[in-house]
Subunit: 290 residues, 2 copies
């Protein structure tokens, strides 16, 4: 897993724009957040599904990096004062605390563009194909927009300061967190030229893992410490936000995480390759401490 | 020209997301800004260059709409309090004054995603080709990111409250305004399957028109009225911003607009088709009053 993180980060940092004279603050701000660490779950899932479908890492890496760029842009915008107003992220000052709100806003915007530039450039198309490139772009753009991640963030905002029902919290989680994780799994298969049955199974795996991931996040917001998590805990309660934990309690949440993880692992049965790595990853994610 | 605007707006409004239960505020906010009018210059340029290269409107329209989505997202983000803090846009309250800063931020983010979703969807690929789709996505993503529009906005921010030199103001204009107009012209050719010589000439035309467009904007900020322009005039002076006008004076600016327009029209010589519409458009843009 550590080797994969090295592989992903090396490719990711190579995409940071170079050679610009007047835009130093913007490039620094982009690099600051891309290099802030994190679990790199989404790009790892892309690589693993590509391998499972017989793809090589070179074809999958641009799509893996694009996912991390979209994830990073969403964190920068999420931390802004008009959104969650978080001063810390991954144990460091959030982007706008270092570069100002204007540059942070624009760095997020530029990172979204960079994701699509990365997936559509000549090298990416040559390493996979124009068909794979267009399909991955369509998956990522639809899963990160109104019907996906951004839509989920809006539901999240609207659920603040009121008691939301389980249905809207579930839809929120599927979109806010699940969509990008689902995209990661599907894109790994597409980059390797896999058939529709496999793309579908990967998407189902991703959806299950994604919801479980968000429930674990909600649990950790209650049970972890600021140091362990790298950001302030208790923010959901402070924002009077309805979560799985506030609606169902911690024990029921842990049961759901185990059930979703088991269902995710079952989706892997349609693949012929070695599913050990993805099985382990699923279990580790359900037991994570940060 | 009015028929083209109708054609573009009809296609554009069809792309507004439908059937979402919990995301009403987001969808309304997106629709509000997409429907706020404007000259629709960029999509018109895409249609015109497609026609000039023998393409049909159906192939070009998705790319034309994507351009207007990117332009609209940039205006929403540009008006935010942490950026230009403009309360009015096109004679109406700006997006965040109606929907709040959080929804406006997310509407901009979702519009950027929607642009790439529009260019990569099945119908778009079927109407042109996977190759045209990937190429247009690569043009638009690179011209709207760090090396293009967003980079230009950063230079613009950094030029506030100081006397910038003509070089940085020029680079700013080429990127902030020129890049998207250049993209519009190139994408029209690409969607029609034109050769590289034509794509290059269209790009050069767009760059010239784009710089001229920004100089006219700077002139109107000094010579127009709030009513005529649909937004407050005098904002550049208020922000102590160096512009072509503050650096060169209005007379020299008008001369440059005429020269750039003439150079743009010369770029059209490589095309075999009827260049009347593009010639007229160039001249009208140089003489515009808002």
């Amino acid at each position: 897993m550590n080797n994969d993180i090295k592989l992903i980060e090396s490719a990711l940092y190579d995409y940071i724009p170079k050679g610009l004279t007047y835009e130093k603050a913007l490039v620094d701000s982009i690099a600051y957040s891309l290099k802030a660490g994190g679990k790199r779950i989404r790009p790892i899932l892309t690589l693993e599904f590509s391998r499972l479908c017989g793809g090589d890492d070179k074809s999958a890496l641009p799509y893996a990096c694009a996912l991390e760029m979209i994830h990073t842009y969403s964190l920068i915008h999420d931390d802004l004062p008009c959104m969650d107003n978080d001063d810390m992220r991954r144990g460091k000052p959030s982007n706008h605390k270092v570069y100002g709100e204007d540059i942070a806003l624009l760095a997020g915007d530029a990172l979204q563009s960079l994701a699509f530039e990365t997936m559509s450039c000549k090298e990416t198309v040559e390493a996979s194909s124009a068909q794979a490139s267009v399909r991955c772009i369509n998956i990522l753009s639809s899963y990160c927009g109104t019907a996906g991640m951004v839509g989920g963030q809006v539901i999240d905002l609207e659920n603040e300061n009121k008691t939301a029902d389980l249905d809207s919290v579930t839809v929120c989680n599927i979109k806010k967190t699940g969509a990008l994780i689902k995209a990661a799994c599907e894109m790994g298969c597409v980059s390797a030229g896999a058939d529709e049955e496999k793309i579908l199974a990967a998407g189902k795996f991703g959806e299950n893992i994604g919801i479980a991931f968000q429930i674990v996040d909600d649990i950790l917001d209650v049970t972890s410490s600021d140091e362990e998590l790298g950001k302030p805990v208790g923010s959901d309660e402070e924002n009077h936000k309805s979560t799985y934990v506030s609606l169902l309690g911690i024990d029921e949440c842990k049961k759901r995480v185990d059930k979703l993880t088991a269902e995710a692992i079952e989706c892997l049965n349609v693949f012929d390759g070695d599913i050990t790595a993805l099985k382990e990853l699923s279990i580790n994610l359900s037991n994570r401490k940060n």
